[in-house]
Amino acid sequence: MSVRQPVQGAREQVARLLALVPYLHAHDQVRLDEAAAAFGVTERQLVKDLRVLFMCGLPGGYPDDLIDVDIDALEDPEGDRVIRVTNADYLSRPLRLTPTEATAVIVALRALRSGATSDATREVVDRALAKLEQAAAEGTSTPLVDPGDAPDAALLELRARLQDAVGRQRQVGLVYYVPSRDEESVRVVDPRGLVEEAGSIYLDAWCHLAEAPRWFRLDRIRSAEVLDSMVTTTEGPRELAPGIFTQEEDVALVTLDVAPAAYWITEYYPVEAVRPGKAGHHQVDLLVADARWLTRLLLRLAPYARVIAPSTYAEAFAARARETRALYGSVE
């Protein structure tokens, strides 16, 4: 298939040698342990690599045609363990980036840029990006991947701070916006971990206000203060599957009639079932933990979604709609 396997075997060894020779060229007197660390392999593997390199060279077959590696310096107990490779000038430049490599590294750098929290750092990333983009443009292909809306630096900073609190087991004071109640709440939580789901980051924590585990969406956290107090509950982070809304207890299964204009909710919220109905409408089953949340959703979708069952939810929604409509009086 078109998806390539991770680099391994001979291909991996060739890739390493093609980077090793330029590395030795650019640095002076590199010792075996330094090179092994730089390439993330054992010293033994590196000696194996160099022994193969020793057998390679120009096609003439004369001793002078071969690449010379001072193996004794590496293996002799008296050797100084410095890697000396000669007769390999034609390999002294690193290999050009493949289109995939160029794409991967440039997209990663663009993402890093959005994580920069100071202008000075952003400037460094920009310089590096400009050089890499130019190098890629000279090649066969330009990157065709865009990492998208830069995650907000403030959000990333919040994430890092919360991650740190998880690691140090510190309590966190949160001001959190609860959309279903349209209010900000102040609470102390024991943070357990951070998870990402459908583009949003959530903090998993034990909430001392609710006295229950809760998920907090990071973009709804108005402020977070890492406290000096240690957490008082100890449990690992929960699995976030299949969806956050099914995690709550006391959920009710609600069936909606959804017109095409509101069909997007089936992609946005975890739904239990979708059945086609008449005239492009669908019947959608979803689990509802909070009746207020559902009423707000239905108001937002008005008039493209209605409750089929249970009728209590239909009545709550209609009452709220009537109350809202009454504000506007009779319209001419």
């Binding site: 998806v3 929290t117 292909s141 959804v258 108001l299 008005a302 008039p303």
Partner: protein
């Protein structure tokens, strides 16, 4: 065995790299594959070329003799082979090294590491002093991501079933130009050959497998294609709207954020005290947002927004 193969690949590379002219297949065989049968040689040589190319080694094919064009030869141009002089400074090299930790996608994480290995081989020392950075992470969980990326890189058309909204899945034939992320979701941008126009597809709406629908290199991506701009152009347009709302005290917090002015104690339609909020915002559907607050939010102006809210409520109550 593996050492032998490494040696053969290296020698093939060096041989093609140091020759000024194209080297004939015959000569390559004599020197590097002398012990192999005809069939074994063809197979091994094909595979060896492919492996070198997959590492980024540009093996060119040409003719060695202008009078006998059927006699192919091979070479590697040193200027095409080598990474252009990039000369990263120490701080730039450190940023590049950090890039290896961004991808949470196996294939692209590995490609980044490989790129960084090549880049750092060129000499720059790492300087990990005070970079003010929060490490972002990029994932791509959609199973079709790899295939679309690969297809865009290789200019290979694809065919897949795509489900738009509540419609039944439809078969689409697309020449992918690139992939774009927006609000945590991945999209592929490309030319839809059935619709004869550029289109954006959300990967999570692809049903079943994505298959190749033509050879690599079967189309060109138009010069200056900006996949991000296309994705933005095809997204729903946000209109800048100036609105005056009444909100009950303590409610509608997201609407108050970034409001131009908030005035308290204003008499509302029910004779109670409301807050008068003036806001300007770019939005796809402000009526829906206002509606979600129910009887806690009331539109004063503009008239169109007010009419839209009333009409939608009448739709519910009719």
């Amino acid at each position: 065995m593996s050492a032998q193969k490494t040696e053969r690949l290296m020698n093939l590379l060096i041989m093609l790299l140091v020759q000024k002219r194209y080297v004939t297949k015959e000569r390559i065989r004599d020197i590097l594959y002398a012990d192999s049968s005809d069939e074994a040689f063809e197979k091994m040589f094909e595979r060896d070329k492919e492996e070198l190319r997959s590492l980024g080694v540009p093996i060119e094919v040409g003719t060695t003799d202008p009078l006998f064009e059927d006699d192919p030869g091979y070479r590697i141009s040193p200027s095409e082979f080598a990474l252009p002089d990039i000369n990263l400074t120490a701080d730039e090299a450190s940023v590049v090294a950090l890039a290896t930790k961004v991808w949470e996608h196996a294939r692209l994480a590995e490609a980044t590491s490989e790129a960084v290995r090549k880049l750092s081989a060129a000499g720059a020392e790492l300087d990990v002093t005070a970079l003010d950075l929060v490490q972002p992470r990029l994932g791509a969980d959609e199973p079709s991501f790899d295939i679309f990326l690969e297809a865009a890189l290789e200019h290979a058309p694809v065919v897949f079933d795509y489900q738009r909204g509540s419609h039944a899945p439809e078969r689409r034939h697309v020449q992918p130009w690139g992939v774009v992320r927006s609000s945590g979701r991945w999209y592929v941008v490309g030319f839809d050959t059935d619709r004869d126009d550029e289109r954006v597809f959300r990967l999570s709406r692809v049903r079943g497998e994505v298959r190749r629908d033509g050879a690599p290199g079967s189309y060109d991506i138009p010069d200056g294609t900006d996949v991000r701009a296309i994705a933005g152009r095809l997204a729903p347009e946000r209109t800048e709207l100036h609105a005056v709302l009444l909100l009950r005290p303590g409610t509608g917090l997201p609407l108050r954020r970034g409001a131009d002015t908030v005035e308290t104690g204003v008499s509302g339609p029910d004779g109670q005290a409301w807050d008068r909020v003036v806001l300007t915002r770019a939005t796809v559907d402000l009526a829906a947002e206002v509606l979600s607050y129910g009887p806690d939010a009331y539109v004063v102006e503009p008239g169109e927004l007010r009419d839209a809210v009333v009409a939608r409520l009448d739709g519910v109550l009719s």
